[in-house]
Amino acid sequence: MFSRKMVLLIGIVFFILVNFIVLTVSSKDALPKSGVERITISLIAPFQMAFSRSFAAVEGVWGDYFAMVSASKEYPRLKKEAARVVEIANRCRELELENSRLRKFIRFQDLEKEVLVAAKVIAKDPSPWFRTIMIDKGAMDGLTKGLPVLVSEGVVGQVVTVAKRYSRVLLVTDRNSAVDALVQTSRARGIVKGNESEFCSFRYVLRKNKIEPGEMIISSGLDGVFPKGLRVGQVVDVKEDSSQLFQAITVKTCVDFDKLEEVLVSLKDNGSESDGL
């Protein structure tokens, strides 16, 4: 009925249609998550982990030698600093206890005990167009999709794919990432959007809010992902255009994503609410 050429042509047109439909659905994040992704991560990640650990071990031997030399020079200064830090820590402990007493006093209901899981970064995204990392903790360690990932310097990102022992984290610098945030001093609210570099944009901040370079941007906790008060970045540039409703603010992230080796995944332990009160 149909010639061979006709069948080939119909096949190609069908293939192109299916291809673009799948890509369109996938781009809108509407494609249901298949097990293929999790299985492939579970198969590839052990090799990535073995390689990155061996690489880090070799690098570590070299680095340790130089660290020892500089540590011996820095030791006297650090000893003095440590004494000062202990004093500050004591003061903080006192304040923490006082805060806890006062919260009880005002029946503060929003106390969540945070459980942090430490994870190592074993790989980064193969494409320069996306900013994701692979970590060596997964569903077996209690991780689920949407959990916040942090380091002491501030917000890193959120878990987007979870395999049995490994997970993928979407960094705040990815163009698909958004964090609801506040300016620490003025409390002006906006959204920190990734820009594929260490400089993110702080969007939807009204022109009536006066913001200066150097001000700290913290998470507002209103996105339901990141806890309130975590450092996101520091304002480096503010542009006000009289024709625009919002200001164009550039923020430099607090975390150096090029040197990220270990991260903390925050597991919210809602069951312990009563313990806190």
């Binding site: 291809n19 673009f20 890509l23 293929v36 590839i44 167009w129 990815d174 163009r175 090029d258």
Partner: protein, 176 residues
């Protein structure tokens, strides 16, 4: 069998290099996709239908380890495979100009799919002039590096196959 094993190990090595080593160096962190070397080598050297399946699987692996929308790498690799398969009958396989052109085409095809996913997912504004500059940089770099790497892989594969044949020959001599 030995060829399949060779390409499997090489693909795994390139994925690890691309995800665990290159991102640590600023110069290489914005490099093109190294798996083009495997896709082009397979498409140019083999006509077996299994090659298409292997290219599809490679795309599947890259889609899984990348943060991009699922299907991006599969689409790019399969279309590069189809293009090379269709055009290689028209030119001499040893033609270096063809290899250089195909290397550039590979980057362009992948970036075209990437732009398509950005535009569909986030609108036209999602593609910035900085992205276009990076695409041009990747294409220029691929023009020089990919053909060289394909030739190196070709020589390596020939060497490995030769060693394996000699080893098998010696084993049969020993049995006799």
């Amino acid at each position: 069998m030995i060829r399949s094993l060779f390409y499997f190990c090489l693909s795994l090595l390139l994925i690890i290099i691309q995800t665990s080593i290159l991102p640590g160096f600023f110069v290489f962190s914005q490099s093109f996709d190294l798996l083009f070397v495997i896709v082009l080598s397979l498409s140019l050297r083999f006509s077996h239908p299994g090659t298409g399946v292997a290219v599809f699987m490679l795309g599947c692996v890259m889609d899984s380890v990348s943060g991009g929308p699922f299907g991006l790498y599969i689409s790019a690799y399969v279309w590069i495979y189809i293009l090379v398969r269709s055009l290689k009958s028209l030119v001499h396989l040893e033609n270096i100009v063809f290899l250089i052109c195909m290397s550039a085409v590979a980057v362009v095809v992948e970036n075209a799919f990437l732009v398509f996913t950005f535009v569909v997912g986030k609108g036209v504004d999602a593609v910035s002039p900085r992205d276009l500059v990076l695409m041009v940089k990747q294409t220029v770099l691929a023009l020089i590096v990919v053909p060289l790497l394909v030739l190196v892989v070709d020589q390596l594969e020939r060497g490995v196959t030769l060693v394996a044949k000699r080893f098998e020959g010696k084993r049969f001599d020993g049995l006799e």
